[in-house]
């Protein structure tokens, strides 16, 4: 039996010390009629060698970036991950530790999370960052909850229609059953129409949620939209692409109150959608109404600098039903990955990655537009690393043809539901180009699509 220590002899010794005569009798408090009178029906145990063969076989049934070139987007991206990230995240001292409740035995995690918070603040220009939330989608719902607390407006939030459709769905799941109206301003032309947003806002609105660059890859007028939110006394919540901040102006620069993101791009593999990383930052003045764990710097009894869990009175294990969130386990190890990633890239690296994505994506867009039947969905809109194309022969045709040539594009826009969907969403497909893609790959794709 793997991972067990007690030999039959030891079990007998231990039972004797306890004062019972069998393992079975340790379970005496479980009434016999509640016992499962049979073995669980789960597949037979596998040794490590068998398990490895089995899982390898299952993995081989999937077709991923090892055999295809990934140009997929929609909130999860195939960025390069330096080997040093895996080296650190693979240290047992990090991945087999618990939440750092015992500060003296956890300074490694605590300082790392403190530096993670600092790095994300530097990246975003925001004052305060927590030690992570689950992922991009729940960051939006947590933002909405926080905005409701801060503004004391509990009945209305406004989302841009260019917010990732799954993020919209998460907000709806979290909020609508609370009789909070979730207003979506439809995105009919690739980015928000400020007039329509203004019309949707009112003095009851807790927050305006902006995604910039948005789901279609295009840039929003984030500053102007933030001003609109503020005009109505609402908070401006901005969901950003962390890589884009290598070149784009930062939420802290243009007055966002809450800045959130899916942090997968910062050193975490795609792994079929999770675990990813919810990044959550805000202005200092809201810090006591933030969700999630916060690490603070302090001194120990000898005056030595050290780190502790801070402001725990916001959290569920202290405040229970009055907590700012129910979150307990967060995404610690993924936050560590992001910290190592950002430390490696630094000021120059993040800029270079952002520029590479931007340059290559524009080249790809230009080249794809030369394929007959393919056109850019929003040729006039500026974009960062992702863009939507439509294919006259349908999205499926495009995806299939690319797949056969060894390229994965997508997602197709018709995969999601929208409050109002322009006709061309039926044939629209997202294409994301990271720094890993090469001109030769892009050219090959274009050649294949032309054939």
């Amino acid at each position: 039996m793997p991972y067990l220590f007690n030999t039959p002899e030891q079990q007998q010794e231990m039972l004797k010390t306890i004062g019972v005569d069998s393992l079975e009798s340790l379970f005496a408090t479980i009434p016999s009629e509640l016992r499962l009178g049979r073995p669980l029906e789960i597949p037979p145990a596998l040794t490590e060698m068998e398990l490895q063969a089995h899982v390898t076989r299952l993995a081989a049934k999937n077709v991923g970036p090892t055999s295809r070139v990934c140009m997929q987007g929609g909130g999860a991206y195939d960025h390069f991950i330096p080997a040093a990230v895996d080296e650190i995240a693979g240290r047992g001292e990090f991945y087999t530790a618990y939440t750092p409740y015992q500060a003296e035995a956890s300074q490694g995690s605590l300082q790392t999370f403190f530096e993670f918070q600092s790095l994300i603040c530097q990246l975003t220009g925001m004052d305060v960052t927590n030690a992570s939330l689950y992922e991009g989608g729940t960051c939006v719902s947590e933002s909405a909850f926080m905005a409701m607390r801060v503004t004391n407006r509990h009945n209305r939030v406004v989302l841009l229609g260019s917010l990732h459709p799954e993020y919209q769905q998460v907000v709806e799941t979290y909020l609508t059953h609370l009789n909070c109206e979730v207003v979506v301003v439809p995105c009919l032309d690739g980015a928000a129409d400020p007039a329509a947003v203004d019309a949707a806002m009112n003095e009851e609105t807790a927050c305006l949620v902006i995604q910039h660059p948005n789901f279609f890859g295009t840039l929003e007028e984030a500053e102007q939209l933030t001003e609109i939110a503020h005009k109505y006394g609402a908070l401006s919540v901005v969901s950003y692409d962390p890589i884009s901040l290598g070149i784009l102006n930062r939420p802290g620069d243009y007055g966002a109150d809450i800045a959130i993101a899916e942090g997968q791009s910062l050193g975490t593999p795609l792994q079929f959608g999770g675990p990813y990383l919810g990044l959550f930052s805000c202005s200092e003045k809201f810090v006591r109404r933030m969700p999630g764990r916060l690490i603070g710097q302090t001194v120990d009894r000898n005056g030595k600098r050290c780190y502790v869990l801070n402001l725990q009175a916001r959290e569920q294990h202290i405040r229970r039903d009055k907590a700012t969130s129910n979150i307990c386990s967060n995404q610690g190890l993924i936050a560590i990955r992001a910290a190592v990633y950002l430390a490696l890239l630094g000021k120059q690296g993040i800029r270079e990655v952002a520029e590479l994505c931007c340059q290559k994506a524009h080249y790809a867009a230009e080249q794809l537009a030369t394929v007959e039947g393919i056109e850019l969905l929003y040729p006039e809109r500026p974009f960062f690393k992702e863009f939507a194309v439509s294919c006259s022969e349908g999205a499926d045709y495009l995806l299939r043809k690319a797949r056969q040539a060894g390229f994965d594009l997508g997602p197709e826009l018709s995969r999601f539901e929208y409050q109002q969907a322009p006709e061309k969403f039926q044939t629209g497909v997202l294409v994301a180009i990271t720094e890993q893609r090469t001109r030769s790959e892009i050219d090959q794709l274009v050649t294949a699509l032309k054939a």
Binding site: F5, M14, I42, P44, T56, A59, Y134, H177, L248, Q271
Partner: protein, 485 residues
């Protein structure tokens, strides 16, 4: 050196990662992006080398105690061994590199694995419908409560209350609040179990859900759980089982069999996640058949008669509450949980619980004279002792013992939780520790209790820092190390 800040290591011009020049024709950025959208200056990220990064974080890592280095009997957290095969297999190409929006025909191996995971969790829980989506236990609670809410609403019932005992984890009330319920906390009995009278007094037609951890946070099996469930059901409510303590009962008894209608698993506890210094977790839920249609989407379905590329599909249940997150769940953790279940099989799972319970009772027996356990004769996988006696005798508190243990190379147990036990010391040894380790741990506690109380109040003495000032931290929070640039 180890604890110098990353930012202090920074020097302009140092590089930890480099990238090639663009291989496409480059255009000035301002032609691609409106100037107004471009940052005026670079980020304030530090500039360090790859060797800096490695030495910094490797040294930091060594300041942690962890399961791989120390006994870590943190009650309620199930700090069991994290098998190394899981790390290897979760990193295989074909698993670690799948994009969530790939074509379903390209994902049959992954979806098949997840489907099998759903089936195994259904069998272990005795509850047939499973959602793998929740990112952690707390999100599992929330998701299940929302599922219940949708169910009641669909039946035209307006039930507003969620009940839970005062020994509950904080996430229970916090999740109920977010799900829009009123929270009602119940008393515990003298035995440390649910007080049936108090429960009865609070059950009514407003009661939506009764949340209960079983075994409870005192490490005791709620022996009246069947009757309790009946009472809740009679009042028209549903029973939610917090699965945090499943490690005690695997293959012995099932939430679905003792009256639970919904539950979550903590894959990162029971199925050895690992904990990752705080996460990621994974909190799949299992529910009764009549709740299946309300689960969040998508779930994985199996169509045995379909073509090989279409056997497993992602589908949203008919009356789904909607999405609770993007994509499909914390897959990387679920893959590890899958590996664990496939490694252990039915007999192995039962042996896990047997040995977890054996280890807890053995350690309790070794300690009970010096650290009495107020509730229960036999415990399950953990027990809650009290330092009240030593505190009264010479002022040695639970905190003193916890801190001093660090000096001897043992992580501290959970202290001051659950709140219902004064000077609580909550010990969960798990099954992946040896009798020898338990003996050494017990001897150490006995030794500590004979030490000078003043010396103990200053403990720990050998760690890199000692008793941080949390009051100062909270009064004037320093939450990052430099001004934003």
């Amino acid at each position: 050196l180890a604890t110098e800040s990353l930012f202090a290591l920074s020097k302009p011009g140092r590089r930890g990662a480099e990238f090639p020049a663009a291989d496409v024709p480059e255009r000035p950025l301002s032609e691609l992006i409106p100037t107004s959208a471009l940052a005026e200056k670079p980020t304030g990220l530090p500039e360090v080398t790859e060797p800096d990064v490695i030495r910094h974080f490797v040294n930091l890592s060594t300041l942690n105690m962890c399961v791989d280095t120390h006994f870590y009997p943190l009650g309620s957290c199930t700090m069991k061994y994290n098998p190394k095969r899981h790390e290897r297999l979760a990193s295989l190409p074909g698993i670690v590199d799948l994009h969530p929006y790939q074509d379903q025909s390209d994902l049959q191996g992954m979806l098949g694995m997840l489907y099998e995971m759903q089936e195994m969790l259904a069998e272990i829980s005795g509850l047939p419908a499973v959602s793998l989506q929740p990112a952690a236990g707390a999100q599992g609670e929330f998701t299940a409560l929302l599922t219940a809410k949708a169910y009641f609403e669909d039946r035209g019932e307006k039930r507003t209350k969620v009940l839970f005992p005062n020994s509950a984890h904080g996430t229970n009330p916090a999740s109920a609040a977010i799900a829009g319920f009123d929270c009602v906390q119940l008393a515990s009995s003298q035995e440390g179990l649910i007080d049936l009278e108090d429960l009865k007094a609070h059950l009514d037609d407003q009661t939506a859900v009764f949340m209960v951890t079983n075994p409870n946070t005192l490490g005791l099996f709620e022996k009246d759980i069947k009757q309790i469930a009946q009472m809740v059901h009679d009042a028209g409510g549903l029973v939610y089982i917090d699965g945090a303590n499943m490690n005690a009962i695997l293959g012995y008894t099932r939430p679905g069999d003792f009256g639970g209608d919904m539950m979550h698993f903590n894959v990162h506890k029971t199925f050895t996640g690992p904990h990752g210094a705080g996460g990621p977790g994974s909190g799949p839920i299992a529910v009764r058949d009549f709740l299946a249609d309300y689960l969040p989407g998508p779930v994985i379905n199996y169509h045995p008669d379909a073509a090989e590329t279409e056997q497993y599909t992602l589908e949203t249940p008919a009356k789904s509450i909607g999405r609770v997150r993007t994509f499909y769940g914390n897959i990387g953790i679920l893959v590890r949980g899958y590996c664990y279940l496939r490694t252990l099989g039915a007999a192995g799972l039962k042996a896990v619980s047997e040995n977890a319970v054996l280890n807890a009772n053995y350690l309790k027996a070794l300690l009970k004279d010096v650290l009495p356990v107020p509730n229960g004769n036999l415990c399950m996988h953990e027990f809650v002792a009290s330092a009240s006696k030593s505190k009264a005798a010479n002022g040695i508190t639970a905190m003193d013992i916890a801190k001093r243990l660090l000096d001897f190379g043992f992580h501290a147990p959970t202290v001051y939780f659950p709140l219902v036990v004064p000077e609580a010391i909550m010990v969960e040894p798990t099954e992946t520790e040896s009798k020898e380790t338990l003996d050494a741990f017990a001897e150490t506690i006995i030794k500590i209790l004979k030490e000078d109380p003043e010396f103990l109040h200053q403990a720990p003495h050998s760690t890199i820092i000692q008793r941080p000032d949390e009051v100062v931290a909270a009064r004037n929070p320093i939450l990052q190390c430099c001004e934003p640039q």
